[in-house]
């Protein structure tokens, strides 16, 4: 029993990292109607830049965020300019961003090789530490991921609900024409939001490096799980994304322990299929629309 609880909570904490990855994707899909697979490339860049710069600059893995967040903000915003310029449809955005993703993965591989990379132990004090609650023990990096995810979710939620720009974005996502008729300029806001999703990618990339190794192919390994979270959480639903991440993580953790690890992806994706059948708008509807 205790083993099951440990597995579920550990899984949920890991799931929060994937929720962090899913956040930006969900936002740009929900509000800007692009399905941006290149987001995974941006996360990958975040991870590699952390490994590259954390030591030499003396900033440490978290300090590097000061540099990577603005850089990846710009990268993501530039990618969005491409979608915006060509007014791509949702399906075409999927194709184009797929092209961008393989391109980015290959460039990362050409520069950093296909080998496993990790943060050196001396500048990653988090990897070996853990947090214990009673008899339960959790690795520190996953706890940090959960904290960051929670902070970002709350922050984004506040931004969307409390600021004029945030509410304008919501309005834009709900009715583009009327939003424009009231003076909401989608172009500026869209680039802002795409950039913000790039910033969350930077955070996700850094947190990923705290727990272990990364290879260029890691990006493809994230895709399935992250999209499962986006769909379960409800496209564009910020808090739902976090809940879905925790749920998916807990379920995978549990299944892996009580059954076997090979079945956990099957269970997760069966969940997605069931959700698509019964709750196409996601498991966690925020407010009743219509």
């Amino acid at each position: 029993m205790e083993q099951a609880i440990q597995a579920a909570i550990s899984g949920a904490l890991q799931g929060s990292l994937f929720a962090l990855m899913a956040l930006g994707l969900s936002l740009t899909w929900g509000f800007l109607r692009v399905i941006n697979l290149a987001h995974f490339g941006v996360i990958l860049l975040g991870a590699y830049l952390t490994i590259e710069w954390a030591g030499p600059t003396g900033l440490g893995p978290l300090g590097v965020l000061v540099v990577t967040v603005p850089i990846l903000f710009v990268v993501a915003a530039v990618i969005h300019l491409l979608y915006d310029r060509f007014e791509v449809s949702e399906l075409n955005s999927l194709l184009i961003s797929y092209g961008l993703l393989i391109l980015m993965i290959q460039l990362v591989q050409n520069y950093w090789t296909a080998d496993f990379q990790r943060l050196p132990g001396d500048i990653n004090p988090y990897a070996t530490r853990s947090v214990s609650v009673g008899s339960l023990i959790f690795p520190l990096p996953t706890v940090m991921a959960a904290l960051f995810a929670a902070v970002l979710v709350v922050g984004i939620r506040l931004f969307l609900d409390r600021t004029y720009a945030g509410r304008a974005l919501q309005a834009f996502g709900q009715d583009r024409q009327i939003a424009a008729a009231f003076g909401i300029d989608h172009r500026t806001l869209g680039i802002l939001l795409a950039g913000a999703s790039g910033a969350t990618a930077a955070v996700a990339g850094t947190l990923f490096t705290l727990r272990g190794t990364v290879t260029p192919d890691s990006a493809m390994e994230w895709v399935g799980l992250v999209f499962a979270i986006v769909i379960l959480g409800g496209i564009g639903n910020v808090a739902g994304t976090l809940w879905a991440g925790l749920l998916v993580g807990a379920v995978s953790g549990l299944v892996a322990v009580v059954w076997n690890p090979a079945t956990s992806p099957l269970v997760v994706f069966s969940l997605v299929v069931l959700a698509l059948i019964f709750r196409p708008q996601g498991l966690f509807r925020r407010k009743a629309a219509h």
């Binding site: 791509v88 993703l101 393989i102 993965i105 050409n110 099957l266 994706f269 698509l276």
Partner: protein, 631 residues
């Protein structure tokens, strides 16, 4: 309407594959070329199989690696762990992969909420699941990889490399033959229609679900066979090497590059991509191949989504000639140090260059309004008995709290033109959707020719004799005007071949006055002509009842008069008509009876001149003054 003669290439390819091992001794072809050719044919097979569902039907899949991978692991597990023969293993791989495809299709295509994007994402997850299963399951792989034994090569073939070439080639020939066959028959055309507009495809009688299932099954079987051939050829398989990003990247880029609508598109795309990759390798630049493919994919989607074949088809002989010369001249002249692959690359480059030259304008262009006076042997066939063609009994349709249709009972009799009018939001179009089966009613029944149609799929109802047009015309944009009509004939009550349907289509085009516009694409004709095309397509299903939903919206007065004339002609041929229309002037002129709807219910019905003077109708249209409401 050129007869397709490209099929000749398929037996030629088959013969080439079969005699290649013999020819090789005679011509002294290097083994490296054979290896390249086997790889090329393998990718051509896999890309072609992807294209059956994702290109023809437009259901974009990132999951080809899963179907392929089942074939790979069937070959590996059955030959290594069970000691089966390679040919048994490859067939079982094809079957297993088909089963997987059918399961995926059955789940995905049953989902009402499924959009193309979600389907794509679901398939994206598929290889990922199988990767975990294969990696962690010792009975399959367990993470160590499997070495597939080299089978005993039949005597007439020669070396194992020749043998792999023949196996890959055989799968490719099967794949391309299937793809060609589909492009010439109802099976492919159903997918073309689904690609362009799935709802309309149902409405003209295409059983969309079953055709999507056929397509995904064929995708699965060919990908499974190709996977077996691949495992045999490479000799060592790992989960990571099988269920990775390479397969979807390659098949998507190849198909998009070659052209998704043409049976030979993936083959042509595979040719370009493989030669490119090979040359990058010789230049020691293989690290850039995915970068280049990524850029190519982005550029194609943005700038030339139709791919090469659509460009080549315009001047096929010139392109073929340039390609052959481009290959042969340097090859025979011994250019490029005798490296034949460079010669091929030069031929391909030249062909692509010619393909992208701007087209000469050969057509007469938009010479005036094409809708000419109709001709044709359309016998007047006055409806015989006074029978009820369609009947709704207290039918209701509620969307949440909105009662769009709230208890409507109407009958349409043979020989009637029933005008269905009413203010905005009165429920007219919803009623049309209920009759044609696009919405199931919340309660009540709809009967067509006395048959209760509740729960029937729209294509079924189309076969019972109900056809419709759309408020905003929805022709299949990538099919010519003639083929738009032909496809309705192919999927009518009595199935017809493409050739027969194309001939018969002329009759319906003549009926509406579009004879002579058959070769145009819907994008090249004007709104009035597109509305006439909708009527021709609906008539080609040989309906008993035609539902015309705002067929005159946006037309100028001359066009309206012409359209009215066509409606008369359709009516005289013995078809009952329900006319949903805002232009009351026209309805009053055409209709034999009028039903006025307001807020989801029938307000009045009867003779046009009488109904339109009914005070209730007048106030529905003009409103009442505050005084008249008793304030």
């Amino acid at each position: 309407m050129r007869r397709e003669r490209g099929w000749i290439l398929i037996p030629v390819l088959a013969v080439l594959v079969a005699v290649m091992p013999q020819l090789r001794d005679a011509t002294g072809f290097a083994t490296s070329y054979v290896i390249l050719a086997s790889e090329l044919l393998f990718w051509a097979a896999l890309a072609t199989s992807w294209n059956l569902l994702s290109g023809y039907a437009g259901y974009f899949s990132f999951g080809q690696g899963a179907f392929f991978g089942v074939g790979v692991y069937a070959m590996a597990v059955l030959t290594v762990r069970m000691g089966w023969d390679w040919w048994q293993a490859i067939l079982v791989g094809g079957v297993l992969s088909t089963v997987l495809a059918l399961v995926v299709g059955f789940i995905a295509f049953r989902l009402r909420s499924l959009r193309g994007e979600i389907f794509a994402l679901l398939t994206l997850a598929l290889p990922f699941i199988l990767l975990a299963v294969a990696r962690l399951n010792d009975a399959i792989d367990g993470g160590q990889g499997l070495t597939v034994p080299v089978p005993k090569v039949p005597g007439w073939i020669g070396t194992p490399q020749d043998f792999f070439f023949v196996v890959s080639g055989a799968v490719a020939v099967v794949a391309i033959a299937v793809s060609y066959w589909m492009s010439q028959t109802r099976y492919g055309w159903a997918l073309f229609a689904i690609h362009d507009d799935e709802d309309v495809a149902e409405a003209i009688g295409v059983p969309t679900f079953s055709h999507k299932m056929y397509a995904i099954a064929l995708t699965g079987v060919i990908a499974g066979l190709a996977g077996g051939a691949y495992a045999l050829r490479v000799g060592f398989v790992t989960p990571e090497g099988t269920f990775n990003l390479r397969v979807p990247v390659m098949v998507i880029v190849m198909s998009v590059l070659g052209g998704r609508r043409h049976w030979a598109g993936p083959l042509v795309g595979a040719l370009y991509v493989m030669i490119l990759q090979n040359r990058l390798q010789t230049l020691k630049l293989e690290g850039w191949s995915l970068v280049i493919l990524g850029v190519v994919l982005i550029a194609l989607v943005l700038l030339a989504p139709d791919g090469l074949m659509s460009r080549f088809a315009r001047r096929r002989w010139t392109v073929a000639g340039v390609a052959v010369l481009g290959v042969l001249v340097p090859a025979l002249a011994g250019a490029f140090g005798g490296d034949f692959v460079w010669s091929v690359a030069s031929g391909l480059l030249l062909a692509a260059f010619v393909g992208f030259l701007p087209a000469r304008r050969t057509e007469a262009g938009e010479a005036g309004s094409g809708a000419v006076a109709a001709q044709g042997e359309w016998a007047d066939a006055p409806a015989s008995a006074d029978e009820v063609v369609v009947e709704t009994v207290d039918v209701k349709k509620h969307f949440g709290g909105l009662k769009a249709v709230d208890g409507v009972s109407i009958q349409v009799r043979s020989g009637e033109i029933l005008g269905l009018v009413g203010p905005n939001g009165s429920g007219k179009t919803t009623l049309v959707n209920l009759i044609s089966g696009f919405f199931p009613p919340t309660s009540g029944t709809v009967k067509v020719g006395g048959v209760d149609t509740t729960g029937m799929r729209p294509h079924h109802i189309a076969h019972l004799g109900v056809a419709r047009t759309y408020q905003i015309p929805r022709p299949f944009p990538s099919l010519t005007v003639r083929d738009n009509v032909a496809i309705a004939i192919m999927f009518g009550r009595e199935p017809k071949s493409l050739h027969a349907a194309r001939q018969e289509a002329e009759r319906y085009l003549a009926l509406v006055g579009l004879a002579g516009r058959g070769d145009d694409l819907p994008g090249g004709i004007n709104l009035h002509e597109r509305q006439l095309l909708e009527m021709a397509r609906a008539m080609a299903t040989r309906p008993k009842l035609l539902l015309l939903d705002e067929a005159l919206a946006g037309l100028n007065p001359v066009e309206i008069d012409n359209a009215v004339e066509v409606v008369w002609r359709i009516h005289r041929s013995g078809v009952s008509i329900v006319l949903v229309e805002h232009l009351l002037r026209v309805v009053n002129q055409l209709a034999t009876r009028i039903v006025v709807m307001n807020q989801g219910t029938v307000l009045a019905s009867g003779e046009p001149s009488v109904v339109m003077r009914d005070p209730q109708v007048v106030s529905a249209y003009l409103g009442r003054s505050a005084d008249a409401q008793g304030h």
